[in-house]
């Protein structure tokens, strides 16, 4: 009997080993390394000197870097807000379609969701460029004397982010609106609530978990999709994702890039914690 138990224990250890190796070597160690680097100093040749310093973090108090952080935050908030306002009525409409149509309509949202976001960003570059369709239409209609600078502007970058991230909001919203019990809404109307009141007091609070999940799924990627701001916003648009990428690959100041990474990680974990703590009894899983 003990032999069998021991054998199964060894078996279990053998089964657990590959997942442990994967998670430790490819996640725990890399993140720990970044944490260590963020407190280290950069040597003159771009190497790393292991000392304890807060200089990489205090550097963010300089005006240029404060601006990077506040710009990133502003872009993230604006994008999330626009996406929410566009996605909510859409998801509502989708959830009210007959069941057999819903599947197909949903698949139409899922296809762009799974399409390479780089390609989607590129499509906007084709559309917005100086001799692209938008400018040709504007000129043909006499609305503009010549090509208008649409590409490499902040609104272009936000448009790209809104476009790529819209499905990330639609899907969780759709799920939470679909779960909404129609009789609850009917009760609100029967008790004399107008459409605005019913929405504000009953519908919105009940679909809040979906709103928060969607907001998270949009907000977090805006911090990291450095290639969208790069390709549509141009070189002068530096968000925190661009900063991290540049510090690691161009400026080769890894400790500073690591500090920026730790700040983004901290913000992300905080947001996820808030979500799990207050909006999702089922844990992180419901977010996915």
């Amino acid at each position: 009997m003990t032999g069998a138990v021991r054998r199964s224990r060894w078996g279990l250890a053998l089964m657990v080993l590959p997942p442990v190796l994967w998670l430790v070597l490819l996640q725990v160690v890399p993140l720990a390394l970044i944490l260590v680097y963020s407190f280290s100093r950069r040597t003159a040749y771009g190497g790393i000197e292991y000392t304890f310093t807060l200089a990489n973090y205090t550097r963010f108090l300089q005006p240029i870097y404060l601006k990077v952080l506040s710009d990133s935050l502003a872009v993230a908030l604006i994008t999330t807000l626009i996406v929410l306002v566009v996605a909510y009525p859409f998801a509502w409409h989708l959830a009210r379609q007959p069941a057999e149509r819903r599947g197909r309509l949903l698949l139409l949202v899922v296809i762009p969701f799974w399409t390479n976001s780089l390609i989607l960003t590129y499509a906007w570059k084709v559309i917005l460029r100086a001799d692209g369709p938008v400018n040709q239409i504007l000129t043909a209609l006499g609305l503009a004397p010549g090509p208008v600078q649409l590409l490499y502007t902040k609104p272009a970058a936000i448009l790209g982010l809104v476009y790529v991230l819209l499905p990330y909001m639609i899907l969780p919203l759709y799920l939470s609106i679909e779960k909404l019990d129609p009789s609850t809404v009917r009760a609100a109307y029967d008790l004399g609530a107008g459409p605005v009141q019913a929405f504000r007091r009953v519908i919105f609070p009940l679909t809040l978990p979906g709103v928060v999940a969607g907001a998270l799924l949009v907000f977090i990627p805006t911090l990291e999709l450095f290639y969208i701001s790069d390709l549509l916003g141009g070189a002068q648009m530096v968000l925190v994702g661009n900063l991290i990428q540049r510090e690691f690959l161009e400026a080769r100041n890894w400790p500073f890039g690591a500090a920026a990474s730790i700040i983004v990680t901290g913000v992300t974990l905080l947001l996820v914690w808030v979500y799990v703590r207050w909006f999702s009894p089922g844990g992180v899983e419901e977010l996915i």
């Binding site: 139409l108 499509a123 084709v126 390709l231 990680t265």
Partner: protein, 285 residues
């Protein structure tokens, strides 16, 4: 009553506008890929950009890299994902909840952070940027998604079916082969497809782990797009779009097939919810 109908009409118009917004850029890309002119509006149908794309050695090389990376990633991530899902659902061991939490890290964490941290680790370990580094980086996150997909299937699994098979004289392997695998199979297949697509799609992790000569397709597109707009890239993008949509429709079909053919675990196929809540159907609110 009339106001309600107007509201519905507005919602419907809005939905059409959103679909237009979602598909117009894709449509423009597809149309331009067949346009017989480099810069201007429609000037006639051509396939020459597709021909040019297939003759472009850099693109073909990048395609080969992408497929090799995605293939290995799929294999490793599916094995790891299956193992992790089984271990998490069926066994107890010290540190299990920590392991479980770690599985979610790559799903939640911005991939730039994963990219730079993997870069730092690989440099420290002496692993050169290149195919191996890209594959390791892809496995690191794809295995998490595979685990979640396979686990969702396992959670709703009725273990009495396995016990029944054993009681009826089936050995461990026979039970696994004829009972467990057919029931969990669709989940594993979904996980594998997910890993393959995620790897094929990835820009960020690849960006930080690729070296000279190991450029993947998305990375090639990224560097080409940085330089400007080209009809060859339009053709390539269109092709990738078609493949993505094809894989999705296939995955959808596999999922439905799984639900229709394997009843016991059907309720848990989606997100591990055994009962469906009351739906908000066509009757509306």
């Amino acid at each position: 009553m009339g106001r309600r109908r107007w509201g519905d009409r507005l919602l419907s118009i809005h939905a059409w506008a959103v679909y237009l917004f979602l598909y117009a850029p894709i449509l423009v890309l597809v149309v331009f890929s067949f346009n017989d002119s480099r810069f201007s509006f429609w000037r006639g149908f051509t396939l020459r950009w597709y021909a040019a794309m297939f003759q472009n050695h850099q693109i073909m090389r990048a395609l080969e890299n992408s497929l090799v990376v995605a293939g290995w990633t799929m294999l490793a991530a599916t094995l790891l994902g299956t193992l992790t899902a089984f271990v998490l659902v069926r066994h107890r061991f010290p540190g299990k909840s920590l392991l479980e939490a770690l599985v979610y890290v790559p799903i939640i964490l911005p991939s730039v952070i994963m990219g730079v941290s993997l870069l730092a680790t690989f440099v420290l370990a002496g692993l050169r940027p290149g195919r191996t580094a890209i594959i390791l980086g892809h496995v690191a996150f794809a295995a998490s998604f595979a685990t979640v997909a396979i686990r969702a299937r396992l959670v709703g699994f009725d273990r009495n079916l396995e016990r029944a098979a054993m009681d009826l004289g089936a050995g461990r392997w026979q039970t696994f082969r004829h009972v467990t695998l057919p029931l969990v199979g669709p989940g594993i297949l979904a996980g594998a497809l997910l890993a393959f697509t995620l790897s094929l799609d990835d820009v960020v992790i690849t960006f930080f782990t690729a070296g000279p000569g190991s450029t993947t397709l998305p990375l090639y597109i990224f560097s080409a797009v940085r330089l400007g707009v080209s009809p060859e890239i339009n053709a390539l993008s269109t092709l990738i779009l078609v493949v993505t949509a094809g894989v999705l429709i296939l995955a959808d079909w596999v999922r439905r097939w799984g639900v229709n053919h394997v009843k016991p675990a059907a309720g848990a196929a989606g997100r591990g919810e055994p009962e469906e809540p009351e739906r908000m159907g066509g009757d509306g609110a």
